[in-house]
């Protein structure tokens, strides 16, 4: 086995395998009917009301799936939110515009929206050009989307996925037309801008849980439960590690020093 494992990766493999095992066990338990307590996300609770209000006012809904391609997990998480959102808009009889800056994202988003409108029995409403490719260039994309927002005056703008400097440009565009803005990103650098300019924001990991939470089926909720258990384990490790490191430094006793080294070995980066 020694010849197989790349040097310095055993600890990442160990922690990764433990996390995956916790999530898989939670999914299996949820599928077998175990009760899955999952906290609700206020931004998602606001989504239903915002969709209903936008449609009632005759204003469209805008959805932007970040600025990265499908090889970015935040884009995948954003598309997981798009499916239930498209269903809600279709059921309310509204218009959903999805400007994209990657053609693979456009292709996927179009299929998701078309199916959602078909599933809601509103296939007659759907138009393929509601999901459009704009430009791979970030600022060119923002210029076009802000222009569309200014002219179409959407009632709800949903910004999900990875954003760079365009986050604030997009969010302020929506704010200027009085749209309700719900955002979510795992980009720590852009979170403050979205928090400052949007009505509701999914912070970090909540973006990855949003799709599962909106769909609400047992297996997906089970994975959220697993995710929460992993967070609990991470917090416990942080507390235990701090205690052990402090005791090792204060007492200098061999068992504490051994435990501290073990902790450092398991959780070392790189």
């Amino acid at each position: 086995m020694n010849g197989w494992l790349a040097p310095g990766t055993w600890n990442v493999a160990l922690v990764g395998a433990t996390v995956c095992a916790l999530i898989v066990v939670s999914v299996v338990r949820a599928r077998r009917g175990a009760h899955v307590p999952v906290r609700s996300f206020p931004p998602l609770l606001a989504l239903d009301r915002a969709v209903a209000d936008a449609v009632a006012q005759g204003r469209p809904v805008y959805f932007v799936a970040g600025s990265q391609d499908l090889d970015n997990m935040q884009t995948v998480a954003a598309l997981a939110v798009l499916r239930p959102l498209a269903r809600k808009v279709a059921e309310a009889g509204g218009r959903l515009f999805v400007p994209t800056n990657r053609s693979l994202v456009m292709d996927n988003a179009r299929e998701i929206c078309r199916r959602a409108y078909d599933d809601a029995g509103r296939g007659d409403l759907w138009r393929d050009d509601w999901v459009a490719y704009i430009s791979d260039d970030h600022l060119g994309f923002v210029a076009r989307v802000d222009g569309l927002i200014a002219r179409e005056r959407p009632g709800l703008c949903v910004l999900m996925g990875f954003f760079a400097s365009e986050s604030l440009l997009l969010a302020e565009g929506g704010h200027q037309v009085g749209a309700v803005q719900i955002a979510g990103t795992a980009s720590a650098v852009q979170l403050p801008f979205l928090v400052a300019s949007c009505d509701h924001v999914l912070l970090g990991e909540e973006l990855f849980a949003a799709g599962a939470s909106l769909e609400g089926d047992a297996a997906r909720l089970g994975s959220l439960r697993g995710q929460d258990l992993c967070k609990l384990a991470a917090a416990a490790c942080l507390v235990a590690g701090s205690l052990v490191a402090t005791l090792a430094d204060v007492t200098g006793a061999q068992p504490w020093l051994f435990l501290r080294d073990a902790f450092l070995n398991v959780f070392r980066a790189g």
Partner: protein, 238 residues
């Protein structure tokens, strides 16, 4: 079958790529087949994605032309914007494809100094980018004004900490608390500013990063296990 085959491909490719990150690189041709397979997967799958992305450019370009042609044909209110977009797109496409003004031939660098594409970038695209980017300054000011209004305990804390950090980064801020005696130097605004950045800010950022990492893993596990179906499938995923 239409849903199962993509799911199988996704699961196999994802597991191979994950495994390849943990398996040692094969040394020589005598390395076990498994090691060579994982090294091959690691090396080749990224190339395959790049090849797919090239075709995606074509898909995007065709969609752009089709969408704007329809808008012009239908004489919609935005048809002039569409016309500008189409003309700009076609001009840049011709300039880039024909490599006007630059070294000719397949190997010729399309962005070489003196090429028309470089001129378009320097004279048109770059100033447009700068203009749009400069709007950020005004947007930051208006967004900060809304966020920093002290309406609740949280926004008051945000306002107070932002003020301390801002003051701590400018010389005038340092002069404000220069009178604080040496024994209480930790109360000087620049020290408080550093403390906010190093302690509560770092703690928050790390908590965020741990949560994001777990979220990514959970989403990946859902996709590999087929719980999170292909977003195009429209199924319930259970």
């Amino acid at each position: 079958m239409k849903q199962r085959v993509p799911q199988i491909i996704l699961t196999v490719v994802a597991l191979l790529l994950i495994a390849s990150a943990f398996v040692a690189r094969p040394e020589g041709s005598g390395a076990p087949f498994g090691q060579r397979l994982l090294a091959f997967a690691d090396q080749e799958f990224a190339t395959w994605f790049s090849i797919l992305a090239v075709f995606a450019f074509l898909l995007g370009g065709l969609n752009l032309v089709a969408t704007h042609l329809v808008k012009i044909r239908d004489r919609g209110p935005d048809r002039y914007y569409s016309l500008v977009t189409l003309v700009s797109f076609l001009i840049v496409l011709v300039i880039g494809t024909a490599k006007l003004g630059g070294p000719p031939g397949l190997q010729g660098d399309v962005t070489a100094p003196g090429s028309w594409l470089t001129a378009v970038f320097d004279a048109v695209l770059s100033p447009l980018h700068a203009t749009l980017y400069s709007l950020l300054a005004f947007y930051i000011a208006s967004a900060s004004y809304r966020a920093f209004r002290a309406r609740s305990l949280e926004s008051s804390l945000l306002l107070a900490s932002a003020l301390v950090v801002l003051l701590g980064r400018i010389p005038a801020g340092r002069h404000l608390t220069a009178w604080v005696p040496e024994q209480l130097a930790f109360l000087r605004v620049e020290e408080l500013s550093l403390w906010i950045l190093r302690v509560p800010n770092t703690a928050g950022q790390r908590a965020l990063m741990i949560g994001i990492a777990l979220g990514v893993i959970a989403l990946a596990v859902r996709m590999i296990a087929g719980v999170e179906k292909d977003p195009r499938s429209g199924g319930d995923g259970s």
